[in-house]
Symmetry: C2
Subunit: 343 residues, 2 copies
Amino acid sequence: MKIIYCEDHRLHFPQAELSGGQFVTPFERPSRVEYVLNRLKERKLTQISAPDPVDMKPVQALLDPGYLIFLETAWDEWKAAGMEGEIIAANVPARGMHMDRIPDNIDGKVGYYCHASETAMTQGTWAAALSSVASAQTAQRLVADGADSAFALCRPPGHHATADQYGGYCFINNAAVVADMFRASGAEKVAILDIDFHHGNGTQALFYDRSDVMFASLHGAPQDAYPYYLGYADETGVGAGEGFNLNYPMPPGTPYDVWREALDDSIAKISAWGAEALVVSLGVDAYKEDPISFFKLESDDFTDAGRRIGRMKLPTVFCMEGGYAVEAVGINTVNVLEGFKDA
Amino acid sequence: MKIIYCEDHRLHFPQAELSGGQFVTPFERPSRVEYVLNRLKERKLTQISAPDPVDMKPVQALLDPGYLIFLETAWDEWKAAGMEGEIIAANVPARGMHMDRIPDNIDGKVGYYCHASETAMTQGTWAAALSSVASAQTAQRLVADGADSAFALCRPPGHHATADQYGGYCFINNAAVVADMFRASGAEKVAILDIDFHHGNGTQALFYDRSDVMFASLHGAPQDAYPYYLGYADETGVGAGEGFNLNYPMPPGTPYDVWREALDDSIAKISAWGAEALVVSLGVDAYKEDPISFFKLESDDFTDAGRRIGRMKLPTVFCMEGGYAVEAVGINTVNVLEGFKDA
Ligand SMILES: [Zn+2]
Ligand SMILES: [Zn+2]
């Protein structure tokens, strides 16, 4: 399996994450990628290459133009306003406020384009986010051109980012861009399977009214887990998209045998629908020792999950999402890929 | 003028405010009250007394029951969940998410009941908020019983708090509770005049559909100033409340002569309507040297503003709101009260 990776991810390394009322070193940190790279090399998966330059057209086609301008210009505007720290949203348009009026003030603009305050932006965030989506795009082109599969070792991750909101460590929704590119490259039906511990709220939002991209997410129930306010089972899509959004929220302590049933159900639905291409939002924070999650998957379970996904025999792009038990993130990620290849 | 004040406000003193991507000592801090008290004594305004115990009935009548339980229990729940810092919201139900589903997880619950992350809750916040609204209630009873006016030296302030959201340093909307108590004590028409630099989004929200309480707010335009996503001139009320919400957003650098025209207009409308009681949300952050605001009022202007308000000759309760140029906050607050008495 070809692996696409760009070292520019290091340009995004915030000093602080707001967590439990304190600033902590971000759980989503550059070393996560090093653990995956090391494990890939240990397992002789060395077909690693750098991405082609980012193609902004598919990104612009899917996301809000004002949001992309914001991501590109926010740092300079923030600093020009005299802000001393990194960019952290202190306000968000909340219940009862306007959801459709964008302030001129950069502090208000940050809140408008953000849905959670744990995620800081830095000087290098935009460049890192572009390098991340570039890896995803290169992986997509490889598969569209005939490869069985490819792994985009994306960082920052993407599945929490909507058309016009960052948050949850995500800025550009890599998996969503890949799915849309599969549509443009000829697939009539594209599925996104999100096995990250957290609900892929951004991906859901991007395709909620569409019947050409099916989205399935296995995740911690929103009553108990970030992003808290989306990811319920009754979110099934809207309009033409009705029935094409599949949420599998699961409670604290969920073991693999329960999780696997959800996985099998989502796979069965994707297969029955006749998806022609698959994008996997590959987070491994369902791992039992993940510091910010509460499922109980063992490392071997990720191999088994990968095998089940592989049995779909679909052209598949894996996009790296979360996973924060830093050492295990490498083992578990590679286990999914190896299980997939063994299927 | 009788002044009501409770030293329990000191129980609320967060260590940190999220500002410009950093933690800073909160602008809304206990010393603000000391400056006002000192200035009151300098000016021989010494009719200062402690409030009667809080009466929860008017508070419960106006605010969401679940919100009040949350405020009372949040600290214990936060600590029981192992959070190490003070309570700071890292998430808020944002655009595209459910606005009506309350998570079980305390981190998610905090976000549900919050609209801005600059405001931390501490162990003593609930007690302080109760003491603040107790002062407001005692002031209201004095005026309902025949006093011309009274000043509730409230801290924490209230005007950003809605029926079910804290934020902007506010937890319980003191001025709104007073207005509702005036209604209960016989006034048919009650006006709230909010001269704090910031839009009184909480007060607006609480009375937006009501025709018995008129709300007028002079404030920094939301494009440029917190709370950013509410406070536009076209927010005029809804349903029965249509026409009873008056917003006067003004741009950076607004001097007193412009501000005064807005004040006179709001006073004319309140008077023409025939208000029988007045609640003043008395923030003095319109002052030219306020560290987080951008109007250009001089200290003498506050005296003049007080005089104009006094000429309405309405039974009046002043509730302290914001004002952060710590030394001047005493002078400017007392100037409003002295101008009012001289009218
Ligand atoms: Zn995750
Ligand atoms: Zn204010």
